[in-house]
Symmetry: D3
Subunit: 291 residues, 6 copies
């Protein structure tokens, strides 16, 4: 029960916020928020519905993780809800996301963002990079997202990592699980601009070592998971990693200095069973405990 | 945007509460809350998911009603969220609902409750009846709900109006749209214990006249609607009234002294199109404007 | 509880048969059975799943009809389950259906058949026609089903009424609700071979008068209903009749000598809400009370 | 079978084009095409999937209309498929739609467009207005779409009729079925800038008389239909018109000089039963016969 | 065909009972029955629909197992259908289940029960424990179900194994696949009250050895399976075991003296593809062959 | 864009054909076509909808394969669409498929066929066998399909491999992934008439060696995949192979002289998430690159 939200009503109510994320804003070490934008989705839209589905279903989640043998920290995270974002061209939405992340950072807190399509990571990472010029980016995804442009647009879910590379430059991006893209994108990676580990999460330990104590932003496009475990996404790509493989990879990041993170591309309407949302929630819980 | 909920964060956020229902509790003339209990559902459960679906989808609703040519009143209603209710036997859940309604009434506000199965109306009406011994009950439903007991239980969605009759007595209940029940239930009504108007909403105007200025509780089991317009319910009964017929009937209640109301039995999982939730939302908007 | 089915077990069990249709075969005045064949469905198959869905969902139905103010007769009807029918070409399935109906008739009982696709009516009506050469056929449907052949086949859901006409001849078929067909089919009807009442159920009273005391077989293709009320069918045709219109038409048949009947073309997989099955069940209940 | 498409293969194939719309382009009097853009959809996207669903399902449609007692004209319409349109900001998509309509008009043919969201009507009507400065617009819709801007954007599905008014001016737009909008939109209509007929299709005959022989563009937002008959749309609004009411209204337009038309806002993913697509198809057939 | 059920009708009918489970009750070595109760389900109800779905879909199952190279035994198992159980508080339902199991045991037969929620195992195991005081319990599940109480209730799907521990005591319960619970539940297990094997089925061979020839009740909460293979359950937990891992574990039990078993928590409405039901059926077939 | 299809219209259009398969027929080395027949499906029909779903969704597929590091060949494959096939008895449909494959072969091209049910492979393989009497058949499937007859029929999805064995004889068929069938079918295989590798794809390398340079027809019943990865099929069988296992097996066939291939039994309606179609598409892409 979220007493701060219902100060005048004495009965136990179901929380309106993400499970266990009702720290007062001032006290919170991390801030959870949704960025429900999917305006450039070219195949199947619907990731705009991701944050609300996760918040709603979070009531069924346990706070204890048997994987880490730890509880979600109490009174450390604040769910501030979802940004109000216009659809259509991405400009206004991205600007507002950037403002939000800058504000969270300037308040000395870590941003944890729920997409939305992958393009929402661009303003978040840009804001982090402004603050930490040596920022490293860890990227889990089925798609390389390294196109120079897509259908004539430079701002798209299919170009987002290229735009981030424009900012952070060579050797700052590590990609895992990639199994779909153009010949050009794979060539770009092979040319060493980014460290692409195709198909699975092998190489995470090596990446952790290479990164050392530099600040890291973690962006997880949930379609890195196999569609059997995560059908609720716009562009499912068979041949992905399992939940347990991804969880293991994330837990390997424990020593890193992660200064922000996102989970994107849950499109719950494409999975009537609710299993995709359950997978996203469990990954988020593990991430929040780990951070 | 719900500034009260995010006092420290300056960006526009999507409301966590029902659209336009973010008056401070102290200022609110009416209090909206969910009672997500469906433990005695005998056919298809799932009305527990009704309040959350309505809150979530309310963001797409206009505040203006062309039917009444009026806006939802600003800063008059407070959505306090959903009560935390255990499943299983109905005792504890009903008790908590009763406490909530009593509190709202003693704070001088009108309760508007979203079910949940129809049994949740029992403690709400009981609490109102304690305060207004001459309480009248207007009941829209496909089912008579007048059984003395159901599968050996006296507390059930199928007995709720009989239990309410136990409290308010003969001649205090008006029923509309009824088209399913046992021979005994129809005989009970024909014996004049309740005023049952089967199949449609004819007779509403007469009922309004009979009631006069006595206090009224309005309980709408949404399965009174035809399943073509409202498939998302546990026990759909073909041959029901249309949205426009029900809306017209509700608008005829405008002169009454309605002291509380509920909408129950939306089970959104049975309507993947979301249309049932849209119907419930529009009825709720019209009701909130009318009250 | 179906004591005949569980003679050795003393606890109350849910019936395995259609609600209230567990008369011993020898005592039954009518026999209910399913004919789950949909092998010639050209657009969307799935009516093979109709009988099982109806049996399963029948447990939620009341035995009392407020429309007729009567109960389902006790110990008068026997549900013998579903015929085992091969898919593929229709020959073997139709032969088996014919055998079943002949047997039921020779046992002095009325057949009530649940389809399956409309073609299953052909052997049933043929068997009845063998016994009653002056048989009349009442046909409710969205489709004329009067083609001479369809995709090169003479036996098809789209030719079934033409094949029946081959047997019963001119002036013996009354059609209601028809709103889809070829120019040729409508011309065939206009030439007076069958009495076609397009779009709605007007003309039922006149047909009842024309038929008088002659024996009648009633075949209801449920797609005569508007898809808003009955989406669960293979070939939905907008602009159909409502449940209440169809119910009223059926109740007008009360004085007729109905010697057999069927309800066909429920394809429950196309209606996840279950509403179509509920509609079919209620029509069947009214029909069984009326017979 | 579309011999033009498979000139070298001798067997009968299912058409890849809309049923019976395979006239050679040069011979066609009308050109059917899809505009699968839904980038500004603010509530539920998915109308981008409308044209493909209609083409696919069209194979089950009869070419004969019992309402008009006529066949679809042979070799008069060409389905050229769907435009390739980028998502994101609407600029590039609208420009391309405008080019297509201009080309069709300059080839002396009538455009028939399948949306996509309602915003796709803007470039189509603009192109027609360039050619016929006295163009009238008939608009069937649940929503007024008359906002000056929406979430800061001037180009949106919620502003499209206002943008069209910007071009055609006062007294050139007739609206039917409107039942949702802001106080401002209804005031704009009451001020006489457009002729708004709320809730139903009354007034169509009068509009036909007022328009006389002026050129007319017909735009049908399918959400004008009641969600019980048409759940497959992004923003369902209860209380709409029935298929038969809309069909009757469209058939009243027969004497008009309709120079172009569109059907928009079918979002088939929200209607798993396929009924919404069937409704859209039948309306399109009647429209194509009527033109 | 189930001749016993249709003694008077000579045609082949589809069985109304579970495939190949139509032995006369008197002859049966095992009795299959459903316990369709889900009244305490706290997250998503619907396991009440499990037994009917399994019975219905069993018609598509082969009787031969290539895993064991054996056929389902003929005339050895009787499906007596589903118990009639009230929803609401669990008391009456559990009592009736207990009566049924006691009767089956006293008739010298093995009970095989299909849930329903996991709480239905409590009266079954209690009845077996009354007869075999040295009863051991093998438990496959995603959840520990070891809470002392849940939302104030001592009888709940979340407390069922604790209630069973109350009866059978320390060292009698082996748990496999557990991956969700509270800190307290895991501590309870670590304290040695039960033998909990988290995450997977390792340790089954050792458990078999420890149990020896003592009587065993096997309870399989099907949510032990990964949601990718078994989405149709109320509380899906990512990171589960595969069908093949669970099958292998079950086949390792072959030497044990299993005196009763259940499969619980199939909620088929959450898996429209039917795959979850297919998984449950195959496990049941293997179990029935093995017993 | 398929310029051949729209010679007179200058704007970029979405292809009406399978992605990148718009070579002129005369130039094509391979011909892709659909065989949408599912008339003998005994459990759940719907594979008739497979080819259209694959064509529709192919627009979202990349042309580059990271598994083979190659692009789909340009201007080498022609999608000629789907054969027009009647439902009902299989005779006419199979004859037409045979004609199509003979024509494609006589034009010197390779047939690639999309089912439909598995029975469509029979006329395709028969036509190939007429041309190459030493034809070998590679068969991936969950089911042996080796029955002599099924429900009295010799032509059925359950007998197709037996009928093919009738033609090609002993030692010419290799089966992988088989995990369902009768005792007789497994005995037939054990007797050495076919080389059956149950459960998985082990043994592919050995088969490749045994086949050598003989001509090979590859038939993939997609239900060989585990239902977690491929729920969209009529008869899902748990315990199947993964996409990656099947892909690896297919890539092992690279040196073979494959003269024709098919993918059958995608029934997309049973997988609302679209993941099954995505799996089928990716396998088809890899196959088309490999051929």
């Amino acid at each position: 029960m979220d007493h701060q939200d219902q100060p005048d009503f004495p009965l136990p109510m179901l929380s309106l916020r993400f499970m266990a994320c009702d720290a007062p804003y001032a006290d919170a070490a991390a801030v959870l928020f949704g960025a429900p934008y999917d305006g450039t989705a070219s195949f199947r839209p619907g990731s705009r519905f991701g944050p609300a589905a996760m918040r709603q279903e979070s009531l069924g989640l346990e706070t204890y993780s048997p994987y880490q043998d730890r509880e979600l920290p109490e009174q450390k995270i604040r769910d501030i809800g979802d940004l109000e974002l216009p659809m259509g061209g991405p400009g206004p939405a991205l600007e507002r996301i950037g403002q939000a992340v800058r504000r969270i950072l300037s308040d000395g807190k870590k941003p944890i963002m729920l997409g939305g399509e992958h393009l929402v990571s661009l303003p978040a990472i840009t804001a982090c990079h402004e603050r930490w010029p040596d920022l490293c980016v860890l990227h889990f995804d089925a798609h390389a997202d390294l196109r120079e442009e897509y259908l004539g647009e430079r701002l798209s879910h299919a170009t987002v990592m290229r735009r981030i590379w424009d900012r952070v430059g060579d050797g700052r991006i590590w990609q895992f699980g990639i199994r779909s893209g153009t010949t050009d994108e794979f060539a770009f990676a092979r040319a060493g601009r980014v460290a692409m580990h195709p198909f699975d999460c092998d190489g995470v330990a090596a990446a952790v070592e290479q990164i050392g104590c530099r600040p890291v932003y973690l962006t997880v496009d949930l379609d890195v998971l196999d569609p059997s475990e995560f059908p609720g996404t716009g562009t499912p790509e068979p041949g992905g990693v399992t939940f347990l493989m991804l969880l293991k990879a994330l837990l390997q990041l424990q020593g890193l200095n992660i200064i922000g993170a996102d989970l994107v591309e849950l499109a719950p309407h494409y999975d009537a069973s609710g299993v995709s949302t359950a997978v996203a929630l469990k990954l988020l819980r593990e991430l929040m405990i780990m951070l």
